[in-house]
Point group: C2
Chain length 263, copies 2
């Protein structure tokens, strides 16, 4: 990625949700010590980024995620698929990261059908390792956006495990959304299997594996200095509200107009 | 909460998304060592639950969250409002938890409008401290469900900071959803302020503060052995798909029927 592109992407990301005004204010206040003072109790060495990283094998990572789904479900599986390997290859700070706490990401957060745990888990990993944009690195934020787009636009699952637990053919569907409710709903409609079926569960295990595979491809590229942001979508910038790219998918022809800035 | 109620709630939670079949399989495989073996590199002491906890003042926590919003946005603000205080009162494992990595929860995860960062951050805290349901404690999962319901059903923000950064009156709205897109959209429609306005930003800072306030009330009750789960909603059990309670809100009269288990 050229410097010009990095700068361009960084700027567009900054403007994404909060607008440059809020960011500038945040930075200013931070420099003046006003807000930093409120954050009196600082974190330890885990809040220095980037965390050490060694390249992982996407296929091996996906196999771990697939199997881990049956222990810790989608979000926990994606997180553990990376964290467990880096505990072995590197040790801290991965050993101290409580990966299993993220079981609750299941079913779009305790079954409420919001963001699928697979992208939610992948976003956590990218930002744990690379760090938040307020710390100066933008690739964690960008990889998260890439994961959201990959998850939404790809016929999933892309990954087939070496030893599937379910012998039935698992069909692929494109969710056009990172939401669990929509992703699982579209797959169930196309495949005809209910929520509690072994087929639906194995489909979700393979989706977690597919997402972990993609995540590690992106992290490996970042590690090699070859990462280029794929997604340049900003709903805030384009439509004046946070959201997806396909308004009509939920709103039909009746897409509301958000309030605009008074001229 | 009586033992009978705890058991009842635990059972209903277990059945929530994955069904007792999947859980039983997971437990069985775990006991046989098949899956545990794949999780070769275990975490450290941070994966022993519950984490030490000392009761926090909800109002003080909400003030911290309000101010932190302007540094780390909704998810990072809720997480930091609890973690910073427990770093001071307790130390580890809070010192080593990389709270600032969660800035990306902003705008429903990097601006995509999925789950609002405030409940997403609160869910992380509840499950960090109490632990995941696979470790045997169900209150983290239950508090997360309570937070989702509180966020959806309450006219927010409930919290007004001692020194608001915006002097305009901030009206309240009920989102009927934990999604950022819907929560912010409904507020913007009712209030008439655009996404990039100081009013919208301050509304979101107060929503983060309101959520942190409620989270600490629930954690304090849990610490005192007085916590009773508020939410008994399970979309999976009731409707056969992960999701919210108000299908018609998005689907109108045309609510799809998910595939049912073959008899």
């Amino acid at each position: 990625m050229s410097n010009e592109n990095i700068q361009k992407t960084s700027v567009s990301r900054r403007q994404m949700l909060i607008g440059t005004g809020a960011l500038a204010t945040g930075v200013m206040l931070g420099q003046l010590g006003g807000l930093v003072k409120s954050a009196a109790a600082k974190g330890g060495s885990t809040e220095k980024w980037p965390w050490p990283y060694k390249k992982l094998d996407p296929r091996k990572t996906a196999e771990i995620a697939y199997n881990e789904w049956y222990r810790v479900f989608c979000g926990g599986a994606v997180i553990n698929s990376v964290v467990q390997q880096l505990r072995e290859k590197i040790g801290e700070p991965y050993t101290s990261f409580p990966a299993d706490a993220f079981v609750f990401l299941e079913g779009g957060q305790v079954g409420w059908g919001t963001i699928c745990g697979s992208p939610a888990g992948a976003n956590i990993i990218a930002n744990l390792i690379i760090g938040p944009r307020i710390a100066g690195a933008h690739e964690g934020h960008q990889i998260a956006a890439d994961i959201m787009q990959f998850y939404s636009e790809t016929a999933l699952p892309t990954f087939k495990p070496a030893s599937p637990r379910v012998s039935t053919k698992i069909i692929t569907t494109t969710s056009d959304s990172p939401l669990c409710h929509i992703s699982v709903g579209r797959w169930m409609k196309a495949a005809g299997y209910p929520l509690k079926s072994p087929e639906r569960k194995d489909r979700c295990a393979r989706v977690a594996a597919s997402t972990a595979y993609r995540l590690v491809e992106l992290l490996n590229a970042w590690h090699d200095g070859k990462y280029e942001a794929q997604s340049d979508f900003s709903c805030g910038r384009e439509y004046g509200i946070t959201g997806q790219y396909n308004c009509e998918d939920c709103h039909g022809d009746n897409v509301p107009e958000p309030p605009q800035k008074k001229a």
